[in-house]
Amino acid sequence: MLEAGPLDMFYGDSHIIQGVSIAVREGEGIAILGRNGVGKSTLLKGLMAGGPQVRGPIRHEGAEIGRLSNFERARRGFGFVPEDRRIYPHLTVAENIAMSGHAVRAGASPHTLDEIYGFFPMLRGLSNRLGFELSGGQQQVLAIARAVYARPACLLLDEPTEGIAPVIVEEIAERLIEMRRASGLTLILAEQNVWFARACTTRLYLLDSGRVVFSGSWPEFDAQPELSARYLAV
């Protein structure tokens, strides 16, 4: 559904992403792995027209989308959960979720709040709570729920497990696996948590200094243990 690259991305004069190509098929889940600072967030933001200058083709279902602005990409079915979550502090949980109603694709309708609370039960009791009253884990789940509300075809998640309690990490993993199975959701996941990435995706791209140093399936990755030692271990 998405074919991008080779892509170069820049912040001012800094050449952050260097010749990266990624592709993801409808319903597939891919992980972008790499240490802090290798360019995972930059890559996701570039795909969403969210900051870096981007050079190179980005094709979605055959159409070049590289010139579209962020809201147009959102309305083509890309749901983005950024690294800093960006929950609106002055809006309630329910209002935060409904914000992505603007991204609903033409002719489609969003989920109901009730369905969303069915997927993410921990939010149900918090429906009228304001964004700033939530814990980090609650905010992360809300950020994902908000993206899901618009029924995106493809979800881009930037390190959803960072700073989150293990129980919530497990719960998020279960939800993502279930949604991929039930609705054929496509997933692009930037992560450092290998357990979580493996649980949610079938393939991975390993980044180092803005370049892809490995791409392949999880068994292929496991067959080369030196990759993990060299590019992931701290």
């Binding site: 969403m48 969210g50 809201f71 309305r75 983005f80 960006r86 002055h90 992505s100 603007h102 609903v104």
Partner: protein
């Protein structure tokens, strides 16, 4: 009691509502787009001139209703100018450093002054207050011009309406959301550029309608653009930079203090406005209502 308390309080409130009506559009645009529109007074002035021309065209005395309708038309005309200004000036400014917006909107202020001179000339004009608002009300010894009472009522009603829209309607919540995080709003599918256009048009509409409403109180000349600039920036800054409630409270605080101050020190009118503004900024540099946008 009347001379030293009620009368300055009333005058201060009247001036505060004049300043608030003048400043709402400026606050709205700054609160959401973070563009400080130096030309705001110029468009307020154009609103006043447009209203003046309509009054002339209709001729003679106007009713209160006609006066409100004429002010609304002035607002619509200026709102349409806002549509052009947004496309030609504000939109490109979103992509460059903030310093450019000061220069660009200052240049725009000069253009509005030039345009007013070209269209309406440099002579001074004035417009009579609508008959019904021309009188005065006495409460004991307190003298209150009907027009001033009317402006205070309009000011408070406008504030209440804006506050209600911001706090309780979907549009208001969207305004606050786009103001606080336009980037995420875009990621969630909000057409932020179009929303900015809407805000600029609304801000200019408010400038134009204020020009019409305050016309009976003003002498029309190309200097009108800068008449309220100091008070407006004072209310905007003390209010917390782009916050409607803060602007409303700051306008009241500054103008009422100034009104009492001028009893003590009538030689330098407006002196206490600056003193109050300086004191407010020293005590609360973040503004009366900090943090919250709009």
């Amino acid at each position: 009691m009347v001379d030293y308390v009620l009368s300055p309080l009333f005058n201060g409130l009247f001036m505060a509502m004049v300043v608030f009506l003048f400043t709402t559009g400026l606050t709205l645009i700054f609160g959401i787009l973070r563009v400080l529109n130096f030309a705001h007074g110029g468009f307020f002035m154009i609103g006043a001139y447009v209203a003046f021309s309509i009054v002339r065209l209709v001729g003679g005395e106007t009713s209160v209703l006609a006066y409100l309708a004429i002010s609304t038309v002035a607002g619509i005309v200026v709102g349409l100018l806002g549509l052009v200004v947004e496309r030609v000036i504000f939109r490109p400014l979103q992509k460059v450093d903030e310093a450019y917006s000061l220069i660009a909107t200052y240049a725009l202020l000069l253009i509005t002054e030039g345009a007013v001179k070209a269209v309406w000339g440099v002579s001074f004009h004035s417009v009579a207050t609508p008959d019904l608002l021309g009188g005065a009300v006495f409460a004991g010894d307190l003298f209150m011009p009907t027009y001033a009472i009317f402006i205070i009522a309009i000011g408070v009603a406008s504030y209440a309406l804006l506050e209600w829209v911001l706090q309780h309607t979907d549009t208001g919540k969207l305004m606050k959301s786009v103001a606080s995080d336009p980037w995420m709003a875009g990621m969630l599918g909000v057409n932020v550029p179009r929303f900015y256009t809407f805000i600029v048009v609304l801000g200019f509409f408010l400038a134009g309608i204020a020009g019409g409403l305050l016309l009976p109180n003003q002498t029309l000349s190309p200097n009108l653009a800068s008449t309220f600039v100091i008070q407006a920036f004072g209310a905007l800054i003390v209010g917390g930079m782009g916050n409607i409630r803060g602007t409303f409270l700051a306008a009241i605080m500054l103008c009422v203090i100034d009104s009492f101050g001028s009893l003590l020190f009538s030689e330098v009118p407006g002196l206490f406005f600056y003193i109050a503004m300086t004191a407010a900024l020293l005590l609360r540099p973040q503004g009366l209502i900090a943090g919250a946008r709009l």
